[in-house]
Symmetry: C2
Subunit: 216 residues, 2 copies
């Protein structure tokens, strides 16, 4: 019974997600769904990418949170066109939420659209929401075992952003163990180290995203 | 329909959780449900408490993970009596999972029982699983805004453990902002700083747990 309901929820979600994706593609909007744990550095990543990719094309952000609009206000204060979804408890964004907010957004054709998902390495991996690709953000402070413990988030992401690399030594981050875990679930996903405070590492990731968009 | 199903799931879970709790209380077992993000330091916390509380009374641990038994093996290597629940995708532990594993565990009367929930600040807060109390573990590396963004996990926890305090300066952790957020959702919850690497800070938390158990 529950399994059937889950299937029905996924089917309904996926149908809406396909529709959203087609609509965005028709307007040449390229959409990135950003996953990661609480405090992994998703908003800093988006800020650093906005500095770079926002120079090429218009850029908008949808911020997903269980509660609060702290990140949306921070992005707006930087002049970034940001919109808030507050799920009020739901542990992931879904296609109906994206459909609803897109109807209120004024995006230019050809935009970049970044969607910051709820801070959670589990549930957001289970849902497509109209994106061209997912990326997953993991902080070295979370430890080197995350690809083993949360395989779906890594397996479904096209790239991995490894944040707070300046803390690696202090926390004893074992990059070899992390890479082995990642290789077993997502052998093709590149890893981009990114220091969200300084922006170091953002340019290679921006270049990779431009290429992904170009070949989409 | 979904709301009704959710209510039915909660009701079924809560009834089983009450039954579990009564059974554990009858055996003088005190049960702590440990919440926190991926990589917050839940296993290190349990290890540090086991060193201290395990001297008073027998102690057992249930480890919840979406995938892998890395933590259970690490705890067993330290001589801690640990049992694994692998949810295979589920984002939280529930009472039926606990009931099933308890039936296979040989715990002495009077034990401490620590249950490490799935690394997730959202879903685990919604479920009671037979515990006497919840505690939530948050790393300073996750940032100072977590009580604002994930209010339920903090509101439903009797105490907050603030881990990796040695990184506070490097990450610019704003303790005042964290405390204000916590005060708005959990005004009575004490905060215990804990360095999981050195064990510094574990003794005050152990003392608080002994007191909580004594007055339960």
């Amino acid at each position: 019974m529950r399994v059937e309901l889950k299937r029905a929820i996924y089917a309904e979600n996926d149908a809406q997600a396909s529709e959203i994706h087609e609509g965005l593609r028709a307007r040449s909007i390229f959409t990135v769904n950003v996953l990661g744990s609480p405090g992994a550095g998703k908003t800093s990543l988006i800020t650093r990418l906005a500095e770079r990719l926002g120079a090429d094309a218009p850029l908008a952000v949808i911020e997903g949170d269980v509660a609060s609009d702290i990140d949306t206000r921070a992005l707006r204060a930087l002049g970034i066109d940001a919109y808030q979804i507050e799920t009020g408890g739901d542990c992931h964004l879904n296609a109906p939420m994206i459909k609803a907010i897109l109807s209120r957004m004024k995006m230019d054709d050809g935009s970049w659209l970044f969607i910051e998902n709820i801070g959670n390495l589990i549930c957001p991996a289970e849902f497509v929401i109209g994106e061209d690709l997912k990326i997953v953000v993991a902080s070295v402070a979370e430890g080197s075992d995350k690809p083993y413990k949360y395989p779906a988030a890594f397996a479904r992401s096209a790239a991995v952003v490894l944040t707070k690399p300046d803390l690696a030594e202090a926390v004893g981050f074992d990059e070899g163990f992390f890479r082995s875990g990642l290789a077993s679930v997502a052998p093709k996903a590149p890893i981009f180290p990114l220091n969200g405070k300084t922006g170091e590492g953002a340019e290679p990731l921006a270049a990779w995203l431009r290429e992904a968009r170009h070949s989409a």
